[in-house]
């Protein structure tokens, strides 16, 4: 991969730092009145998702990371691995480890497209769509005529996620959920 100098550090650039692929979030030049200039860089570690700061001497460089985001549909799990297929018509499949799947495990639904981040052709993270429609498999019975009141109750969805839903929701209903916050949005 090419090397990138601090001047070229822009939001979204993928670089290697301490052996892990990272995505640049922010880059700011700092310089005392006279003397050495530095770049104060905010990076997201793509393996852990954590955001941290690191300082570089201006002009220093980092190796680029071979990282790409591809859209893939979820197929199935064999218990060990989770299998996805590219949506570009190639039918190419990728197996994803639990570690890379992370929190997205609770938002999995067959035939829904996810963004799979590949590093050196290996899946390192899975991002669900912002909104997903899932069926309620378990919740307390709905309270008729309670649509106006603000109360909520837990509901277990077909993917395994547990979300707070309004009291009027019944088992078997399909709900639209915001995967970023885990919040109920509406009936689907």
């Amino acid at each position: 991969m090419a090397n990138y100098s601090t001047n070229e550090f822009k939001g979204g650039l993928k670089v290697m730092l301490d052996g892990d692929p990272c995505s640049i979030v922010e880059n700011e030049l700092v310089k005392p009145g006279k003397g050495q200039a530095f770049n104060r860089v905010k990076l997201r570690n793509l393996m852990t998702g954590r955001v941290g700061e690191r300082t570089f001497k201006s002009g220093d460089s980092l190796e680029g990371a071979d990282v790409m985001d591809l859209e893939m549909e979820y197929l199935y799990t064999d218990g060990d691995m989770w299998h996805f297929m590219k949506t570009d018509g190639s039918f190419e499949q990728y197996a994803v480890e639990k570690k890379a799947l992370g929190d997205t495990e609770k938002w999995l639904k067959e035939q829904v497209p996810y963004i799979i981040t590949l590093w050196n052709d290996k899946a390192i993270s899975v991002t669900p769509p912002n909104f997903i429609e899932l069926e309620v498999v378990e919740t307390d019975p709905g309270l008729k005529g309670d649509t106006a009141q603000g109360g909520s109750k837990p509901a277990t969805l077909s993917s395994g996620a547990v979300v707070r839903v309004p009291l009027f929701i019944n088992q078997g209903e399909v709900l639209k959920i915001d995967t970023r916050s885990g919040d109920y949005v509406s009936r689907a």
Binding site: L29, K31, Q36, F38, R40, R54, F56
Partner: protein
């Protein structure tokens, strides 16, 4: 996609900018300081290891010549002083390659002025008076600090005597830099990192902070003297407001031989670091040889001052077209 042709500053901001600049000119006119315009291009450039100069190739009467774009108008203005100009000021377009950010732009406006016969203390006084006049809402005090005192306060270390190994460890930790990247760096890089990352953000909070007595190794084009502790320090000051460095002033070096030595030391450092050498300004050296009056001089980032005066978060908001959009 259509190209982004819009200015980075609003038209309203440009009106405010013009008003502030008129105030700056009036300030100097009232004090009898002559406004001058010197060339942006010069046959000599800045040898400062930490500045990247731009240059252009020009067809001159001597054939193809490399002419340097100034990083500040210092050399030409000193030649005017040597020619007997008396006190002068200039709003000068200056260029520093690679410097882009919320407080930096490759092309920027420097407000630079020189006061023959002034002490550094007198120039500090004039500089803070000017800044206060541009920032009428600013009522805070002017507070003076010594470089050494700041390191004692914020880092509990002495910048002059702490061992290089200790400096590297602390700079890596507090500066969020890898120890590996600092392994070959000298004292000044470690001190610059700590100054930039730890101390500067604390300066200029509801006050104008003036920092003096920098290490002698950071004198640039300032004279050196021994401070009250017997340490050799640079006769130089920096001014800070809201954690932003605004101005850098010197008791100017006027010794031609010492100046030539500093140019060649810079170029030796450049060779050691694998950086291109810069032609040193022979005309400045000739002017110093002829004799330049003892003077204090200061360079102030005018765009930053306007940014602070108008409460803008990014420098580009006070520039018609920032470099990425020029």
């Amino acid at each position: 996609m259509t190209a982004n042709w819009q200015p980075t500053a609003s038209i309203e901001t440009l009106r405010e900018r013009a008003r502030l600049i008129a105030g700056v000119r009036a300030f100097f006119a009232a004090r009898g300081v002559l406004e001058v315009e010197t060339p942006v291009l010069g046959q000599g450039g800045s040898t400062d290891v930490h500045l990247i100069s731009l240059f252009s190739m020009a067809r001159t009467d001597k054939g193809q010549r490399k002419l340097w774009l100034q990083t500040s108008p210092e050399f030409h203005m000193k030649r005017l002083l040597a020619a007997g100009s008396g006190p002068i000021f200039q709003l000068a377009k200056s260029f520093r390659d690679g410097e882009i950010g919320s407080r930096h732009n490759i092309e920027f406006t420097m407000l630079e002025w020189y006061r023959p016969g002034y002490s550094l203390a007198q120039l500090i006084d004039e500089t803070t008076t000017l800044v206060a006049s541009v920032l009428p809402s600013f009522v805070g005090p002017v507070v003076h600090y010594r470089y050494r005192e700041l390191f004692h306060t914020y880092l509990a270390l002495d910048p002059f005597t702490t061992s290089i190994d200790t400096l590297r460890v602390l700079a890596a930790e507090r500066g969020q830099m890898s120890a590996y990247a600092l392994a070959d760096e000298g004292r000044d890089t470690c001190l610059d990192l700590l100054m930039s990352m730890v101390i500067e953000p604390m300066l200029g909070k509801n006050e104008l902070s003036v920092v003096v007595d920098y290490p002698a190794s950071q004198a640039a084009l300032a004279r050196r003297h021994q401070d009250a502790d017997g340490e050799w320090v640079a006769s130089r000051f920096e001014l800070y407001l809201n954690g932003i460095e605004l101005a850098n002033g010197y008791d100017e070096l006027i010794d031609a031989e010492e100046q030539r030595l500093r140019f060649s030391e810079d170029n030796a450092d450049r060779r050691r670091l694998g950086l291109p050498e810069v032609d040193c300004d022979e005309q400045l050296l000739a002017a110093l040889h002829h004799g330049m009056p003892e003077s204090a001089g200061v360079a102030l980032g005018l765009d930053r001052l306007i940014q602070l005066a108008l409460g803008k978060t990014r420098l580009e908001e006070v520039l018609t077209f920032s470099t990425p959009n020029c």
